[in-house]
Symmetry: C2
Protein backbone atom coordinates (compact mmCIF):
# COMPACT_ATOMS: atom_id res chain seq x y z
CA UNK A 1 0.00 0.00 0.00
CA UNK A 2 1.51 3.30 -1.04
CA UNK A 3 0.63 6.97 -0.48
CA UNK A 4 1.99 10.34 -1.43
CA UNK A 5 5.51 10.94 -0.02
CA UNK A 6 6.35 7.27 0.49
CA UNK A 7 9.99 6.20 0.67
CA UNK A 8 10.69 4.61 -2.69
CA UNK A 9 13.11 1.85 -1.69
CA UNK A 10 10.90 0.75 1.24
CA UNK A 11 8.35 -0.38 -1.32
CA UNK A 12 10.48 -1.25 -4.36
CA UNK A 13 13.12 -3.36 -2.58
CA UNK A 14 10.47 -5.89 -1.45
CA UNK A 15 8.63 -5.51 -4.78
CA UNK A 16 11.73 -6.62 -6.69
CA UNK A 17 12.04 -9.74 -4.54
CA UNK A 18 8.38 -10.71 -4.14
CA UNK A 19 7.47 -10.11 -7.80
CA UNK A 20 9.93 -12.91 -8.67
CA UNK A 21 8.06 -15.49 -6.58
CA UNK A 22 6.62 -18.07 -8.96
CA UNK A 23 2.97 -17.26 -9.61
CA UNK A 24 2.96 -14.10 -7.52
CA UNK A 25 0.51 -11.35 -8.40
CA UNK A 26 1.49 -7.99 -6.95
CA UNK A 27 -0.52 -4.77 -6.87
CA UNK A 28 0.36 -1.29 -5.73
CA UNK A 29 -2.72 -0.03 -3.93
CA UNK A 30 -3.58 3.22 -2.14
CA UNK A 31 -6.54 4.77 -0.36
CA UNK A 32 -7.41 6.27 -3.73
CA UNK A 33 -5.93 4.86 -6.96
CA UNK A 34 -3.76 7.11 -9.11
CA UNK A 35 -0.24 8.57 -9.21
CA UNK A 36 1.68 8.87 -5.93
CA UNK A 37 5.01 10.66 -5.48
CA UNK A 38 7.96 9.52 -3.41
CA UNK A 39 9.13 11.56 -0.43
CA UNK A 40 12.08 13.01 -2.29
CA UNK A 41 9.67 14.04 -5.02
CA UNK A 42 11.19 12.92 -8.31
CA UNK A 43 9.55 9.49 -8.53
CA UNK A 44 5.95 8.98 -9.55
CA UNK A 45 4.45 5.52 -9.04
CA UNK A 46 0.97 4.46 -10.05
CA UNK A 47 -1.35 2.99 -7.42
CA UNK A 48 -3.29 0.75 -9.78
CA UNK A 49 -6.09 -0.14 -7.37
CA UNK A 50 -7.87 1.53 -4.45
CA UNK A 51 -7.60 -0.48 -1.24
CA UNK A 52 -11.36 -1.07 -1.38
CA UNK A 53 -10.81 -3.30 -4.43
CA UNK A 54 -8.24 -5.50 -2.71
CA UNK A 55 -9.82 -6.42 0.64
CA UNK A 56 -7.97 -9.70 1.23
CA UNK A 57 -4.33 -9.76 0.05
CA UNK A 58 -2.30 -12.77 1.18
CA UNK A 59 0.61 -10.47 1.97
CA UNK A 60 0.14 -6.86 3.04
CA UNK A 61 3.16 -4.53 3.01
CA UNK A 62 3.16 -0.97 4.34
CA UNK A 63 6.25 1.12 3.50
CA UNK A 64 7.58 4.12 5.37
CA UNK A 65 7.87 7.76 4.40
CA UNK A 66 6.73 10.99 5.98
CA UNK A 67 3.52 10.72 3.97
CA UNK A 68 2.31 7.87 6.15
CA UNK A 69 1.85 10.07 9.24
CA UNK A 70 -1.67 11.19 8.20
CA UNK A 71 -2.57 7.50 7.85
CA UNK A 72 -2.03 7.02 11.60
CA UNK A 73 -5.42 8.64 12.13
CA UNK A 74 -7.13 7.68 8.88
CA UNK A 75 -10.03 5.43 9.83
CA UNK A 76 -10.63 4.10 6.32
CA UNK A 77 -7.00 2.99 5.91
CA UNK A 78 -6.73 1.59 9.44
CA UNK A 79 -10.02 -0.32 9.07
CA UNK A 80 -8.80 -1.78 5.76
CA UNK A 81 -5.55 -2.86 7.41
CA UNK A 82 -7.32 -4.48 10.36
CA UNK A 83 -9.65 -6.32 8.04
CA UNK A 84 -6.86 -7.40 5.65
CA UNK A 85 -4.85 -8.59 8.65
CA UNK A 86 -7.68 -10.90 9.69
CA UNK A 87 -7.30 -12.98 6.52
CA UNK A 88 -3.67 -12.31 5.51
CA UNK A 89 -0.97 -14.95 5.55
CA UNK A 90 1.60 -12.27 6.35
CA UNK A 91 1.18 -8.66 7.45
CA UNK A 92 4.40 -6.71 6.96
CA UNK A 93 6.01 -3.30 7.03
CA UNK A 94 9.27 -1.58 6.19
CA UNK A 95 10.72 1.39 8.08
CA UNK A 96 8.04 3.65 9.61
CA UNK A 97 5.36 1.52 7.95
CA UNK A 98 5.31 -0.25 11.32
CA UNK A 99 3.86 2.90 12.89
CA UNK A 100 0.82 2.46 10.64
CA UNK A 101 0.48 -1.21 11.62
CA UNK A 102 0.76 -0.01 15.20
CA UNK A 103 -1.98 2.60 14.77
CA UNK A 104 -4.22 -0.13 13.37
CA UNK A 105 -3.71 -2.10 16.59
CA UNK A 106 -1.84 -4.89 14.82
CA UNK A 107 1.32 -4.60 16.92
CA UNK A 108 -0.31 -4.78 20.34
CA UNK A 109 1.90 -7.02 22.50
CA UNK A 110 4.00 -7.90 19.44
CA UNK A 111 7.76 -7.70 18.97
CA UNK A 112 8.43 -5.33 16.05
CA UNK A 113 10.99 -3.05 14.49
CA UNK A 114 11.17 0.23 12.54
CA UNK A 115 13.70 2.75 11.26
CA UNK A 116 16.21 3.22 14.10
CA UNK A 117 15.19 6.87 14.58
CA UNK A 118 11.57 5.84 15.23
CA UNK A 119 12.05 2.51 16.97
CA UNK A 120 11.10 3.61 20.48
CA UNK A 121 7.90 5.15 19.11
CA UNK A 122 6.51 1.65 18.70
CA UNK A 123 5.92 1.47 22.46
CA UNK A 124 3.03 3.91 22.16
CA UNK A 125 1.18 1.22 20.19
CA UNK A 126 1.77 -1.45 22.80
CA UNK A 127 4.57 -3.08 20.81
CA UNK A 128 7.93 -4.26 22.10
CA UNK A 129 10.60 -2.52 19.98
CA UNK A 130 13.36 -4.88 18.82
CA UNK A 131 16.64 -3.56 17.48
CA UNK A 132 16.96 -6.03 14.60
CA UNK A 133 16.85 -5.81 10.84
CA UNK A 134 13.91 -8.17 10.42
CA UNK A 135 11.52 -9.16 13.21
CA UNK A 136 8.91 -11.92 13.02
CA UNK A 137 6.13 -12.34 15.56
CA UNK A 138 3.44 -14.75 14.46
CA UNK A 139 2.36 -13.66 11.00
CA UNK A 140 3.60 -10.11 11.48
CA UNK A 141 6.99 -9.36 9.93
CA UNK A 142 8.53 -5.90 10.28
CA UNK A 143 11.76 -4.51 8.83
CA UNK A 144 14.06 -1.76 10.05
CA UNK A 145 14.93 1.29 7.89
CA UNK A 146 14.49 1.54 4.11
CA UNK A 147 17.01 -0.95 2.63
CA UNK A 148 16.16 -3.63 5.21
CA UNK A 149 13.01 -4.36 3.23
CA UNK A 150 15.17 -6.39 0.84
CA UNK A 151 16.34 -8.66 3.67
CA UNK A 152 12.78 -8.94 4.94
CA UNK A 153 11.39 -9.83 1.51
CA UNK A 154 13.98 -12.60 1.03
CA UNK A 155 13.03 -13.96 4.46
CA UNK A 156 9.38 -13.78 3.44
CA UNK A 157 10.10 -15.45 0.08
CA UNK A 158 11.70 -18.34 1.97
CA UNK A 159 8.69 -18.70 4.29
CA UNK A 160 6.26 -18.62 1.37
CA UNK A 161 8.13 -20.65 -1.28
CA UNK A 162 11.07 -22.31 0.46
CA UNK A 163 14.75 -21.56 0.91
CA UNK A 164 15.78 -22.69 -2.56
CA UNK A 165 13.42 -20.26 -4.30
CA UNK A 166 14.57 -17.44 -2.02
CA UNK A 167 18.19 -18.24 -2.86
CA UNK A 168 17.40 -18.25 -6.59
CA UNK A 169 15.81 -14.81 -6.24
CA UNK A 170 18.83 -13.57 -4.29
CA UNK A 171 21.15 -14.77 -7.05
CA UNK A 172 18.89 -13.30 -9.73
CA UNK A 173 19.10 -9.85 -8.15
CA UNK A 174 22.79 -10.44 -7.39
CA UNK A 175 22.29 -9.50 -3.76
CA UNK A 176 25.80 -9.96 -2.43
CA UNK A 177 26.10 -6.53 -0.83
CA UNK A 178 29.39 -4.66 -0.58
CA UNK A 179 28.60 -1.28 0.97
CA UNK A 180 31.55 1.06 0.36
CA UNK A 181 31.35 2.24 3.99
CA UNK A 182 30.48 0.60 7.29
CA UNK A 183 28.06 3.21 8.57
CA UNK A 184 24.69 1.59 7.95
CA UNK A 185 23.47 1.32 11.53
CA UNK A 186 23.70 3.60 14.58
CA UNK A 187 25.87 0.98 16.30
CA UNK A 188 28.48 1.25 13.53
CA UNK A 189 28.41 4.94 12.61
CA UNK A 190 30.25 7.56 14.67
CA UNK A 191 28.02 9.30 17.29
CA UNK A 192 28.17 12.71 15.60
CA UNK A 193 26.89 11.18 12.35
CA UNK A 194 24.11 9.43 14.24
CA UNK A 195 23.01 12.76 15.73
CA UNK A 196 23.19 14.49 12.35
CA UNK A 197 21.03 11.88 10.64
CA UNK A 198 18.61 11.70 13.58
CA UNK A 199 18.00 15.43 13.25
CA UNK A 200 17.72 15.27 9.45
CA UNK A 201 15.17 12.46 9.65
CA UNK A 202 13.11 14.36 12.19
CA UNK A 203 13.09 17.64 10.29
CA UNK A 204 9.74 18.85 9.02
CA UNK A 205 8.91 18.32 5.32
CA UNK A 206 10.17 18.57 2.62
CA UNK A 207 13.46 17.16 3.81
CA UNK A 208 12.15 14.64 6.33
CA UNK A 209 12.40 11.23 4.82
CA UNK A 210 12.07 8.42 7.30
CA UNK B 1 16.55 6.85 -18.17
CA UNK B 2 13.79 4.27 -18.00
CA UNK B 3 11.78 2.31 -20.56
CA UNK B 4 9.01 -0.26 -20.59
CA UNK B 5 10.03 -3.51 -18.88
CA UNK B 6 12.87 -2.00 -16.84
CA UNK B 7 14.06 -3.77 -13.69
CA UNK B 8 12.61 -1.74 -10.85
CA UNK B 9 15.36 -2.03 -8.26
CA UNK B 10 18.09 -1.21 -10.84
CA UNK B 11 16.63 2.28 -11.05
CA UNK B 12 15.09 2.80 -7.61
CA UNK B 13 18.07 1.62 -5.53
CA UNK B 14 20.28 4.40 -6.92
CA UNK B 15 17.33 6.81 -6.90
CA UNK B 16 16.89 6.36 -3.15
CA UNK B 17 20.57 7.14 -2.55
CA UNK B 18 21.14 9.93 -5.08
CA UNK B 19 17.89 11.77 -4.30
CA UNK B 20 19.26 12.32 -0.79
CA UNK B 21 22.33 14.19 -2.04
CA UNK B 22 22.05 17.79 -0.84
CA UNK B 23 20.70 19.94 -3.66
CA UNK B 24 20.23 17.04 -6.05
CA UNK B 25 17.56 17.31 -8.74
CA UNK B 26 16.57 13.95 -10.18
CA UNK B 27 14.38 13.19 -13.17
CA UNK B 28 13.07 9.95 -14.60
CA UNK B 29 13.34 10.35 -18.37
CA UNK B 30 12.51 8.10 -21.31
CA UNK B 31 12.57 8.24 -25.08
CA UNK B 32 8.97 9.37 -24.79
CA UNK B 33 7.58 10.73 -21.53
CA UNK B 34 4.70 8.88 -19.87
CA UNK B 35 4.04 5.76 -17.79
CA UNK B 36 6.51 2.87 -18.02
CA UNK B 37 6.02 -0.58 -16.52
CA UNK B 38 8.63 -2.70 -14.76
CA UNK B 39 9.70 -6.06 -16.21
CA UNK B 40 7.66 -8.00 -13.70
CA UNK B 41 4.66 -5.90 -14.68
CA UNK B 42 3.03 -4.70 -11.50
CA UNK B 43 4.93 -1.43 -11.11
CA UNK B 44 4.12 1.67 -13.12
CA UNK B 45 6.60 4.56 -12.97
CA UNK B 46 6.18 7.92 -14.64
CA UNK B 47 8.88 9.15 -17.00
CA UNK B 48 8.33 12.84 -16.34
CA UNK B 49 10.47 14.13 -19.23
CA UNK B 50 11.42 12.94 -22.69
CA UNK B 51 15.18 12.57 -23.12
CA UNK B 52 15.08 15.43 -25.65
CA UNK B 53 14.27 17.83 -22.79
CA UNK B 54 17.24 16.77 -20.69
CA UNK B 55 20.24 16.87 -23.04
CA UNK B 56 22.95 17.46 -20.46
CA UNK B 57 22.46 15.68 -17.12
CA UNK B 58 25.46 15.73 -14.78
CA UNK B 59 24.85 12.08 -13.98
CA UNK B 60 23.31 9.66 -16.46
CA UNK B 61 22.07 6.28 -15.20
CA UNK B 62 20.79 3.48 -17.41
CA UNK B 63 19.11 0.56 -15.61
CA UNK B 64 18.74 -3.00 -16.84
CA UNK B 65 15.70 -5.01 -17.77
CA UNK B 66 14.68 -6.98 -20.83
CA UNK B 67 13.00 -3.86 -22.19
CA UNK B 68 16.37 -2.28 -22.87
CA UNK B 69 17.26 -4.73 -25.67
CA UNK B 70 15.40 -2.68 -28.33
CA UNK B 71 17.43 0.34 -27.21
CA UNK B 72 20.64 -1.36 -28.37
CA UNK B 73 19.67 -0.42 -31.92
CA UNK B 74 17.65 2.72 -31.22
CA UNK B 75 19.54 5.58 -32.87
CA UNK B 76 17.68 8.33 -31.07
CA UNK B 77 18.43 6.87 -27.64
CA UNK B 78 22.04 6.00 -28.47
CA UNK B 79 22.66 9.46 -29.94
CA UNK B 80 21.21 11.06 -26.79
CA UNK B 81 23.46 8.89 -24.63
CA UNK B 82 26.59 9.74 -26.65
CA UNK B 83 25.79 13.43 -26.50
CA UNK B 84 24.93 13.36 -22.78
CA UNK B 85 28.16 11.46 -22.12
CA UNK B 86 30.19 14.26 -23.73
CA UNK B 87 29.16 16.72 -21.02
CA UNK B 88 28.31 14.41 -18.10
CA UNK B 89 30.31 14.29 -14.89
CA UNK B 90 29.43 10.59 -14.51
CA UNK B 91 27.91 8.14 -16.97
CA UNK B 92 26.60 5.09 -15.17
CA UNK B 93 24.61 1.89 -15.50
CA UNK B 94 23.18 -0.91 -13.39
CA UNK B 95 22.86 -4.54 -14.52
CA UNK B 96 22.29 -4.89 -18.28
CA UNK B 97 22.16 -1.10 -18.59
CA UNK B 98 25.84 -1.47 -19.43
CA UNK B 99 24.85 -3.18 -22.69
CA UNK B 100 23.12 0.05 -23.71
CA UNK B 101 26.20 2.11 -22.80
CA UNK B 102 28.19 -0.39 -24.85
CA UNK B 103 25.91 -0.08 -27.86
CA UNK B 104 26.38 3.70 -27.68
CA UNK B 105 30.15 3.17 -27.95
CA UNK B 106 30.77 4.48 -24.45
CA UNK B 107 32.49 1.31 -23.16
CA UNK B 108 35.04 0.96 -25.96
CA UNK B 109 38.33 -0.02 -24.31
CA UNK B 110 36.79 0.54 -20.86
CA UNK B 111 36.68 -1.82 -17.89
CA UNK B 112 33.01 -2.42 -17.06
CA UNK B 113 30.59 -4.80 -15.40
CA UNK B 114 27.02 -6.09 -15.78
CA UNK B 115 24.67 -8.73 -14.38
CA UNK B 116 26.76 -11.91 -14.05
CA UNK B 117 24.68 -13.72 -16.69
CA UNK B 118 25.48 -11.04 -19.27
CA UNK B 119 28.99 -10.04 -18.24
CA UNK B 120 30.86 -11.67 -21.13
CA UNK B 121 28.51 -9.96 -23.59
CA UNK B 122 30.32 -6.69 -22.88
CA UNK B 123 33.25 -7.88 -25.04
CA UNK B 124 31.17 -7.38 -28.18
CA UNK B 125 31.22 -3.65 -27.44
CA UNK B 126 34.99 -3.53 -27.05
CA UNK B 127 34.79 -3.45 -23.25
CA UNK B 128 36.85 -5.46 -20.80
CA UNK B 129 34.39 -7.33 -18.52
CA UNK B 130 35.29 -7.11 -14.84
CA UNK B 131 33.75 -9.46 -12.30
CA UNK B 132 33.18 -6.85 -9.59
CA UNK B 133 30.18 -5.25 -7.98
CA UNK B 134 31.10 -1.69 -8.96
CA UNK B 135 33.61 -0.78 -11.67
CA UNK B 136 35.00 2.71 -12.31
CA UNK B 137 36.91 3.63 -15.42
CA UNK B 138 37.37 7.34 -15.87
CA UNK B 139 33.95 8.91 -15.53
CA UNK B 140 32.14 5.69 -16.41
CA UNK B 141 30.81 3.72 -13.45
CA UNK B 142 29.00 0.42 -13.98
CA UNK B 143 27.33 -1.87 -11.46
CA UNK B 144 26.70 -5.62 -11.53
CA UNK B 145 23.19 -7.08 -11.21
CA UNK B 146 20.11 -5.30 -9.83
CA UNK B 147 20.84 -4.72 -6.12
CA UNK B 148 24.43 -3.64 -6.79
CA UNK B 149 23.10 -0.27 -7.91
CA UNK B 150 22.80 0.65 -4.23
CA UNK B 151 26.52 0.05 -3.68
CA UNK B 152 27.31 1.97 -6.87
CA UNK B 153 25.16 4.92 -5.87
CA UNK B 154 26.83 5.19 -2.47
CA UNK B 155 30.22 5.13 -4.20
CA UNK B 156 28.97 7.81 -6.56
CA UNK B 157 27.58 9.89 -3.68
CA UNK B 158 31.02 9.81 -2.09
CA UNK B 159 32.72 10.95 -5.32
CA UNK B 160 30.20 13.77 -5.79
CA UNK B 161 29.69 15.00 -2.22
CA UNK B 162 32.38 13.37 -0.07
CA UNK B 163 32.59 10.33 2.16
CA UNK B 164 30.78 11.90 5.10
CA UNK B 165 27.67 12.69 3.06
CA UNK B 166 27.70 9.18 1.60
CA UNK B 167 27.95 7.72 5.10
CA UNK B 168 25.04 9.89 6.28
CA UNK B 169 22.92 8.62 3.39
CA UNK B 170 23.90 5.03 4.19
CA UNK B 171 22.82 5.51 7.80
CA UNK B 172 19.61 7.26 6.69
CA UNK B 173 18.60 4.27 4.57
CA UNK B 174 19.91 1.92 7.28
CA UNK B 175 22.01 0.03 4.74
CA UNK B 176 23.64 -2.54 6.97
CA UNK B 177 22.71 -5.59 4.91
CA UNK B 178 22.00 -8.97 6.47
CA UNK B 179 20.92 -11.25 3.63
CA UNK B 180 19.24 -14.33 5.11
CA UNK B 181 21.21 -16.54 2.69
CA UNK B 182 24.69 -16.43 1.19
CA UNK B 183 23.73 -17.07 -2.42
CA UNK B 184 23.99 -13.61 -3.96
CA UNK B 185 26.75 -14.26 -6.47
CA UNK B 186 27.62 -17.19 -8.75
CA UNK B 187 30.82 -17.73 -6.76
CA UNK B 188 28.81 -18.34 -3.58
CA UNK B 189 25.73 -20.17 -4.85
CA UNK B 190 25.77 -23.92 -5.59
CA UNK B 191 26.42 -24.74 -9.30
CA UNK B 192 22.94 -26.17 -9.92
CA UNK B 193 21.35 -22.96 -8.64
CA UNK B 194 23.64 -20.92 -10.88
CA UNK B 195 22.51 -22.96 -13.90
CA UNK B 196 18.85 -22.63 -12.93
CA UNK B 197 19.03 -18.85 -12.59
CA UNK B 198 21.14 -18.50 -15.75
CA UNK B 199 18.42 -20.28 -17.70
CA UNK B 200 15.62 -18.29 -16.05
CA UNK B 201 17.34 -14.99 -16.82
CA UNK B 202 17.84 -15.97 -20.45
CA UNK B 203 14.28 -17.16 -21.02
CA UNK B 204 12.20 -15.20 -23.47
CA UNK B 205 9.64 -12.74 -22.11
CA UNK B 206 7.58 -12.49 -19.99
CA UNK B 207 9.71 -14.27 -17.42
CA UNK B 208 13.12 -12.97 -18.49
CA UNK B 209 14.15 -10.29 -16.06
CA UNK B 210 17.83 -9.38 -16.19
Amino acid sequence: MIFDRFTALDAIGPYEVLSRLPGAELSFVAKEAGPKRSDTGALGVSADLPIAELPDPEIVLVPGGEGNRPLLSDDRVLEWLRSAHETSVWTTSVCTGSLVLGAAGILDRKRATSHWVYLEGLRSFGAEPVDARVVEDGKVMTAAGVSSGIDMALTLAARVAGDQVARAIQLGIEYDPEPPFDAGSPAKAPPELVELVRNLEREPAPSRRA
